[in-house]
């Protein structure tokens, strides 16, 4: 049985690696096909829109688009012992010339509606993929947990340019209906104008409703899996640290890499799913490349 599991895992990793290779190759081909780089000239010009919407700023002017791909090696699911490689696309669009704001790999999608410069706040959203028992023998009998959309807000404070404190608090819809609060601190150290290193501690708190679908084991699940019944309660969820390095090769190309480590705490760590079949140590490693080019809307 363990040989079959090992084979399946090896097969899954190979497939994932191939997916990353294909996506990186596709990204490279798409990038190579672009006519002009973002070095003072625009790659192409689009005509002005046929109408303008009231209350929205005009879209005319120069814009910078960033596209790329990232390979991410992370636990199969939260609490898993095994990890899997997957491909993540990178895409962003912003006004030309504006600096790319600092982002930690754990930051959710967010918009700053309140911006005092050093203090920013606004809505934040995160998609949590479904946890499917198919393909994960350690989950057989626990059933699937649907995907969740977490909506909430963020607040971040830069007391100085090289240090950021951030909190995101979100409520889940779908797979879980609990509250999640992520805290992080990042030291942001520019080594040269092209290389930036950052990193710092992380901590997450989750309510019972957020933890329970993933770590509780009810009577039926206990019967099906052989694991003891367990009622996971909310509280401190993870503590850890993360670091990333970014190298801007030129105004167009940027490569980055990061590692994020979390140790499960509280009832997530005490769940039989983790103690018997998983691990409290959760590490995510990512490496990616992106390409930026400018275009103009008349």
């Amino acid at each position: 049985m363990s040989r079959i599991q090992a084979f399946l895992r090896c097969f899954a990793v190979k497939i994932a690696r191939r997916a990353v290779s294909v996506s990186l190759l596709a990204a490279y081909c798409a990038i190579a096909a672009l006519p002009v780089a973002a070095s003072g000239q625009t790659a192409f010009t689009l005509p002005a829109p046929p109408f303008e919407l009231p209350f929205l700023p005009p879209v005319s002017g120069n814009w910078t688009v960033t596209i790329g791909a990232e390979g991410q090696y992370k636990p199969d699911f939260e609490g898993a012992k095994a990890s899997m490689l997957s491909a993540v696309p990178i895409f962003s669009i912003r006004r030309a010339g504006s600096a790319d704001p600092f982002r930690s790999p754990r930051d959710s999608a967010s918009i700053a509606l309140i911006d005092f410069g050093d203090l920013r706040a606004g809505p934040a959203a995160k998609f949590v993929p479904a946890r499917l028992q198919d393909g994960h023998p350690e989950l057989f009998g626990l059933g699937d947990v649907n995907a969740a959309l977490e909506l909430g807000g963020f607040i971040e404070y830069f007391p100085v340019d090289w240090f950021r404190l951030r909190n995101e608090t979100r409520e889940g819809f779908g797979g879980h209906r609990g509250v999640v609060s992520d805290f992080s601190a990042d030291f942001i150290v520019p080594v040269t104008r092209a290389i930036t290193i950052s990193g710092g501690p992380r901590f997450a708190w989750e309510s019972t409703e957020a933890i329970s679908p993933y770590f509780s084991i009810n009577a039926a699940q206990a019967m099906a899996t052989g694991l003891p019944i367990f009622n996971a309660m909310g509280g401190a969820h993870t503590a850890g640290a993360g670091a990333q390095v970014k190298y801007q090769i030129n105004p167009q190309w940027e490569v980055h890499s990061y590692v994020e480590y979390d140790r499960l705490l509280g009832d997530a760590a005490n769940s039989p799913l983790v103690t018997a079949r998983g691990s409290v140590n959760q590490t995510t490693v990512g490496i990616g490349a992106s390409y930026s080019f400018d275009f103009k809307i008349q």
Binding site: G97, S98, V160
Partner: protein, 257 residues
């Protein structure tokens, strides 16, 4: 049968909404609402130019700063940058518009601060619309071109720089400075006082790895300056060069030339 009836109702509601949207777009009122910049500019014949960019020069620090990263400023009114901007813009626009001289309180326009709370900005509207209505004479021109300071983010942090100045970035292995002239241009309708178009001047080139959302250049051996002194002619000339090179490009991007 009940399900079929429900789908019919949904289809009817969707069709009704589409029909109302088309009606709204085709109606004259809605046409004005969705009218493009070029359509609004087509009827503009006379313009006045207002500039409130160049009163202060700011020295800012970024990157690995000490705990006190506050910036300092000194006055540069003697450089006459706003007069230069009005003169350059007049030259650039004279081919298409009749540019009329206007009088205004420069300090009032320079003193406008945007709210850090974006929804408040949206509800309050553009503050320059009201200023053009109350602080500029003569009234009655077709449009007013208002040129004011713009802001840009400094590096990856949330801090911003504004207007004219130098920012010095400190990294572990190097330190470098960037000279900037950040400004934005509004076209305000002289009848309705609505902003027809607003655009910030874009970078002249993107060759530097450190980017500011506006005209800027790295200070290198070709530019010897003594920041902190309004009497520094090299600094003055470098700022004038940024403005003179970027202003026609920005006016072109706004379809004003």
């Amino acid at each position: 049968m009940r399900a079929a009836s429900r789908y019919a109702w949904i289809a009817m509601v969707i069709l009704f909404c589409i029909a109302m949207t088309i009606l709204l777009v085709l109606s004259s009122g809605a046409h004005a609402l969705f009218e493009t910049r070029d359509a609004k500019l087509a009827s503009v014949k006379t313009v006045g130019i207002i500039s409130a960019v160049g009163d202060q020069f700011t020295l800012a620090k970024a990157g690995l700063t000490g705990l006190d990263n506050s910036s300092r400023s000194f006055p540069i009114l003697s450089w006459g940058l706003d007069d230069l901007i009005v003169q350059q813009a007049t030259t650039a626009l004279s081919g298409r518009f009749q540019v009329k001289p206007v009088s205004y309180q420069r300090a009032v326009f320079a003193g406008v601060k945007e709210s850090p709370i974006k929804p408040v900005e949206i509800v309050r509207g553009d503050p320059f619309e009201k200023l053009v209505k109350t602080e500029v004479s003569p009234q009655g021109l077709d449009a007013y071109i208002v040129i004011t300071k713009a802001k840009a983010n400094l590096g990856g942090g949330g801090r911003k720089v504004e207007g004219i100045g130098i920012v010095t970035y400190r990294a572990v292995l190097e330190s470098y400075s960037q000279l900037y002239a950040l400004y934005e241009i509004r076209i305000v309708d002289g009848k309705t006082f609505d902003v027809i178009e607003k655009m910030a001047a874009t970078p002249l080139d993107n060759a530097a790895n450190v980017r500011l959302a506006g005209p800027s250049r790295l200070i290198d051996e070709n530019l010897s300056t003594s920041p902190g002194d309004a009497g520094d002619e090299n600094l003055h000339r470098a700022i004038v060069d940024l403005i003179v090179r970027s202003l026609p490009i920005t006016l072109s991007d706004m379809h004003l030339r």
